[in-house]
Symmetry: C2
Subunit: 363 residues, 2 copies
């Protein structure tokens, strides 16, 4: 390594586990038994087949996915699936997609869905500034609801559902920024999907977990690559899948199992988040959090100092001591510390110490 | 490197330049100036912005792309664009896509296009067994043709256009398996596209070069990720692009420039192909080529021995001496040696020598 690695708080693409990066590096010229790089082998090869099967099994084990769900590794980022889901589910059934809009990502998803079918936004946090999630009592579904869509964690606003909404129809969840960070009760879901580049691997692969009856809803008129049914039938190999992304996800999920699985990750993630939120709450108002307390995200700690000048200074000083990419999203401003699974506890401690110091000096 | 690298004749994902793999390996834990891996940095970062700009400039330089064309780095493999192209071009204009069907890939593209608009297959080589491309005289376009679609090189059948078809409408070309292998006269094209995993990088990124008036044809009703217009407006960054694939393509195109560009590659590729075809033609009929002589592919040498038993033996013996993945596609059988840009001349010489020996022993 010719250079020092920083503690990288990027919201995504984001930090990956160092042992995973080292393994990728070690095998990059020659994957064992292949005589070639993972970048160079056919998706139809025996070796890649084993990698695909292992990744699926890891996902199944970690999330407790029942047998009546398909596990797919697709492309296009979450944004593609914002449109593909209603294209497959609403067009053929004529039913409504019910959406809970709690920030930038769920708003965008509802907007893409409207190009494909009937969409009802049944709760919208915009007037309050996207500072919280709805309570179960506030959610009134339409009679023709096929699913209730929600974004588990809004990365930009830094707000997260403490648990999934309780409704009478299957849930569809964009779990992009919290997948594998805590256990999930998959049986409540029709679809759970996540782009990889936050908690599951590099950009370029999207994990889609879909209940069989949802898979079957795809209309026969869809192009092959836009049909979950056809993609599931070919086990994500209708054409060349993003082989490197899947290989990386195999290594990330191997690592998660070694760490003790999702219960262990959830405990560590809660502790990491508490370190920062406690520092914020103990700063006598120097730092303020964007979201309401009970909806604070365990993954993305979004906060600000008393002024934009101090925000700028905070980020510049932090960078000098190896704490990078702490800038908030341009729509919310301030700071954002993304502390996904792969962010080590010592990175969070270093940031916490820096925050306490900075508040003492500037407060 | 714990293991010996073989000469890998895989049709795709396929061999990459060794200096490129070594650079990826060297930078994998820490991209210079980032304190993080290319897998971990934001697509909005200054460093990634520079990589994207460099890749575009390299593509522009290598292929001589004029200013009135957009260069995009998208996802979903060629198969996604088989449907997306007519979705963007035929739906809004009501015109016809004219297709030249010369093998598996162009056939599949016409079939996907039919889900989106009017498609006319104006030449089909099926009856002859896909052994050649049409001559210019044989191509009769329809009056409402918006474009003439062709697949420059059919990997499975191993047949290639000596030059692009001469027609009165803009061409759309699937150049997946020959991009960067020879110069192209882009001004004849409305669209030239190629998945990366043969000649341009790893699986997971698709290069799309599209003339401005074609970009403008996208209907406003399309979901964002399915609209070339919206993708072009955001410079391939409507959402997180496949950052690692683009970085790899930057390195591959850097390498191509170092090799002397596409004229130099074309000369080397012709010479490499001649080594194999000369051995085949000099084998007294032991080896036979699938395609007709003037359409033989410079990229994929598709041939067979006198029997399926000998084919099997050929592949097994070759593997023992480090010549791997020589099996033909399941639909054509026999052998296929894919000798893309990154296959070194010595790999081709080693295969040629093996072929001569094998024919002498078994012929």
């Amino acid at each position: 390594m010719s250079e020092e690695r920083a503690f990288n708080f990027s919201a995504g693409p984001a930090v990956m586990p160092l042992p995973v990066l080292k393994k990728i590096q070690e095998e990059l010229l020659c994957l064992p038994g292949c005589g070639a790089s993972i970048l160079e082998i056919s998706h139809r090869s025996k070796q890649f087949g084993e990698i695909l099967a292992r990744t699926k099994q890891n996902v199944k084990d970690l999330l407790g996915v029942p047998d009546n769900y398909q596990i797919m590794f697709l492309q296009g980022g979450a944004l593609t699936h914002f449109a593909m889901l209603p294209m497959n589910l609403l067009r053929s059934t004529g039913k409504s997609g019910n959406y809970l809009v709690t920030g930038n990502w769920s708003k965008k998803s509802a907007s893409e869905a409207k190009t494909q079918g009937k969409v009802d936004v049944v709760w919208d946090g915009k007037a309050e500034g996207y500072v919280r999630k709805p309570t179960d009592d506030e959610i009134k579904l339409t009679d023709d609801a096929l699913y209730c869509y929600f974004c588990a964690n809004e990365t930009i606003e830094g707000i997260q559902y403490p648990r999934e909404p309780k409704v009478d129809v299957p849930l569809i969840c964009d779990a992009s920024s919290e997948i594998f960070s805590r256990p999930v009760d998959i049986e409540k879901y029709g679809v759970l999907f996540a782009c990889a580049q936050k908690n599951a691997g590099p950009a370029g692969v999207v994990l889609v977990i879909m209940r069989d009856d949802f898979v079957e809803m795809s209309g026969d008129d869809l192009p092959s690559m836009f049909s979950y049914k056809k993609l599931a039938e070919k086990d994500s190999m209708l054409n060349t899948p993003p082989t490197f992304g899947i290989y990386s996800m195999a290594l990330v999920t191997d690592w998660l199992k070694e760490q003790g699985g999702l219960e262990a990750m959830a405990a560590l993630n809660r502790e990491k988040a508490s370190l920062l939120y406690d520092a914020i709450d103990g700063s006598n108002g120097f730092y303020r959090v964007h979201g309401q307390k009970e909806y604070r995200s365990v993954m993305n700690v979004s906060f600000r100092t008393p002024s934009e000048e101090l925000d700028k200074e905070f980020q510049e000083e932090a960078k000098k001591v190896g704490l990078t990419n702490l800038n908030g999203h341009r729509s919310v401003k301030g700071e954002r510390a993304s502390i996904y699974n792969a962010m080590p506890r010592e990175g969070v401690v270093a940031l916490r110490d820096f925050m306490v110091d900075f508040a003492q000096k500037k407060g």
